[in-house]
């Protein structure tokens, strides 16, 4: 029972921070310009520093080998969820401009904006390395398959980027650079100067509040009134919030990942839709509103499913 209340408190906390973003939107203090600034600042500056701090403070040289195995199983579980999503999309006979969006929404979860604050609140700072491992595995897909899926649902001409372009896309993302920098420091056993760590700490302090304010603002932008269960959305929510953590749990069992790593992975697998999907849908001319509504509903939904999940895990 203690886990349940703890999780409810964590979720409530995140909800309050999201409410700040919603209120700022409602008051007109936050508009599209500020939203863009926050997302740029969080993704490119605050999160990379957060990755470095999280890795260097919570892992050592020896833990790294194990991380490889974990990454592999996380990738398999995400791939399975994507496959399941694709199967469901075919069965539901969704229109062209929705089905790729549907599969992407069902398949990958919001590991950073929601995942990092939520896991930190649930498990404490020690969980950050596992969040990073899951994040790395998940971005392998969001940068490749998810982009292709959304593109296929869109009206914009496709341009082939090729493997090199894909690798470049993945390895120039600042959060991934942050993870790589952190890993490098661990491999070489470098402890960065205290001044740097403190600076990085100040930067990472802004991640949770700003990321969640951003999510709250998105809910405001879509509008609470517009949230309704369009065709496919209930199925998407079931896959995203229930089946995805189940698949992850099964895989962890199979590979023998347990303890904190397992719990973090399962929670990460049960998180809302990736925030980029809405942006991508807009960019490629797929059904943007469908993506926005799905993403909002999954955000609101996870506030109910996460506490239940925590009880099962505890």
């Amino acid at each position: 029972m203690a886990e349940f209340f703890n999780a409810v408190a964590a979720v409530l906390m995140l909800f309050s921070l999201m409410a700040v973003g919603y209120a700022l939107g409602w008051m007109g203090w936050m508009t599209a310009a500020e939203k863009k600034f926050i997302s740029r600042f969080v993704v490119n500056i605050a999160v990379p520093f957060n990755c470095i701090v999280g890795l260097v403070n919570n892992l050592n040289h020896d833990d790294l080998l194990q991380a490889g195995v974990m990454m592999g199983s996380a990738m398999v579980s995400i791939a399975l969820t994507l496959l399941l999503g694709a199967g469901a999309a075919v069965l539901l006979k969704l229109p062209k401009n929705q089905w790729g969006v549907f599969v992407s929404m069902a398949g990958t979860s919001n590991t950073l904006f929601i995942g990092l604050p939520l896991s930190t609140q649930l498990f404490g700072e020690v969980c950050i390395p596992f969040v990073m491992v899951y994040y790395l595995s998940s971005s392998m897909f969001t940068q490749s398959l998810v982009v292709l899926l959304v593109e296929r649902s869109g009206t914009v001409e496709r341009k082939g980027v090729g493997l090199v372009g894909l690798a470049k896309d993945i390895f120039t993302k600042p959060p991934i650079l942050g993870v790589l920098a952190g890993v490098l420091m661990l491999v070489l056993d470098i402890q960065p100067p205290a001044l740097f760590m403190k600076f990085a700490g100040y930067m990472s302090n802004t991640v949770t509040p700003l990321a969640l304010m951003y999510c709250g603002f998105i809910v405001y932008e879509v509008g609470l009134k517009k949230l309704r269960f369009l065709r496919g959305i209930p199925t998407m929510l079931v896959i995203r919030l229930f089946l995805s953590p189940l698949i992850c749990m099964g895989l962890c069992l199979l590979v023998g990942i347990d303890g904190l790593a397992r719990n973090v992975f399962i929670v990460e697998a049960a998180l809302p839709v990736v925030s980029q999907i809405t942006v991508m849908a807009g960019a490629y001319g797929a059904d943007e509103e469908y993506a926005a509504i799905g993403s909002c509903l999954s955000m609101l939904g996870c506030f109910f499913t996460i506490p239940v999940l925590m009880v099962l895990l505890g």
Binding site: L12, M30, A33, Y202, N205, T206, L210
Partner: protein, 314 residues
């Protein structure tokens, strides 16, 4: 010597955070729109949250009963600095659109945007209650004397708000409300639930980072090339950065203010120009560029004077 090195590294840290704001401006990610958002968010949401958290975490009811002594000392030392500044403005025979700006710049210091980060970095959270006790008289003088001085230098027709309007202006400022709520909770001896405290800490953790990014952006906006020692600026810097803390030291000795409280008071008295003054100068039609240049130079100057002062205070 360790005190000095600590102070230098603390100041350097603040400088690094400011440079993030400068770089964001240079990259075009931060413009006047986002600047406005940051300042609104920090002043109206993050700082009040910080006031409540740090008062509740660092003070007890019995500490409040003797807080009228430091409050009085703060009021007196800022009052004296203002009188000295007005006299200096007269002696320098500054033009009409500059002299009030000069006196306001020399008289009151930046207690929030620079003061809060500096206090946290140099004294830790336990220094914050002392800062609050300085902030209250400083807000009082800024809303009264500083506003009137800048108004007199301006071309806009002065409107006298009267005592009622003045009290309303002062008591509806969110940071003042934050301090009042914090003190009210201390008097009632009631600590809000942990959930609320964690929520407030998340929000208040963004203060240092965002406030300094803001200050760095202000330097970028004015432009390093435009920074030059206009007439009166050297005298203003002298009063602001050196004479003001000496006056504060004297008043502290007179009133028997000691320890952390004295240290915080002296450092805060030595901080740069209050950030509202360039804004006010623009609003009232006084010499805005003069104010902006003075504010920037005092910001850069304090990075040199604060470590020296810490050596004397410590």
């Amino acid at each position: 010597m360790t005190v000095f090195i600590n102070a230098v590294s603390a100041v350097f840290m603040l400088f690094m955070l400011m440079s993030v704001g400068y770089i964001l401006g240079w990259m075009g990610w931060l413009t006047s729109t986002e600047k406005r958002f940051i300042s609104r968010f920090v002043v109206n949401i993050a700082v009040p949250a910080n006031c409540i958290v740090s008062l509740l975490n660092n003070l007890e009811w019995k500490d409040l009963t003797r807080s009228w002594i430091p409050l009085l000392a703060g009021t007196l030392s800022i009052g004296m600095t203002l009188v000295l500044s007005i006299a200096a403005a007269k002696a320098l025979k500054l033009p009409k659109n500059q002299w009030g700006v000069f006196a306001a710049m020399a008289g009151v210091s930046n207690t929030i945007f620079i003061g809060l980060p500096v206090t946290i970095e140099l004294f830790g959270q336990r220094g914050v209650p002392a800062l609050m006790l300085y902030f209250l008289p400083s807000a009082f003088w800024t809303q009264t004397a500083a506003v009137m001085l800048v108004e007199r230098s301006g071309s806009a027709v002065p409107q006298t708000p009267g005592i009622k309007g003045l009290a309303r202006d002062l008591l509806t400022k969110p940071p003042v409300i934050g301090v009042m709520i914090g003190m009210g909770l201390l008097v009632l001896n009631w600590r809000p639930p942990e959930l609320a405290m964690t929520f407030l800490s998340y929000i208040s953790n963004t203060v240092t980072t965002l406030a300094l990014i803001y200050c760095g952006f202000v330097v970028y906006e004015v432009g390093l090339k435009n920074l030059r020692l206009l007439r009166g600026i050297p005298a203003m810097l002298m009063i602001r950065l050196l004479i003001s803390p000496v006056l504060c030291l004297g008043v502290c000795a007179l009133f028997g203010v000691e320890g952390v409280e004295r240290g915080v008071f002296i450092i805060i008295a030595a901080l740069p120009v209050a950030s509202q003054i360039p804004v006010m100068a623009g609003d009232f039609g006084a010499d805005e560029e003069y104010a902006a240049i003075g504010a920037c130079l005092s910001m850069l100057g304090c990075f040199i004077t604060v470590p020296i002062l810490m050596l004397l205070v410590g």
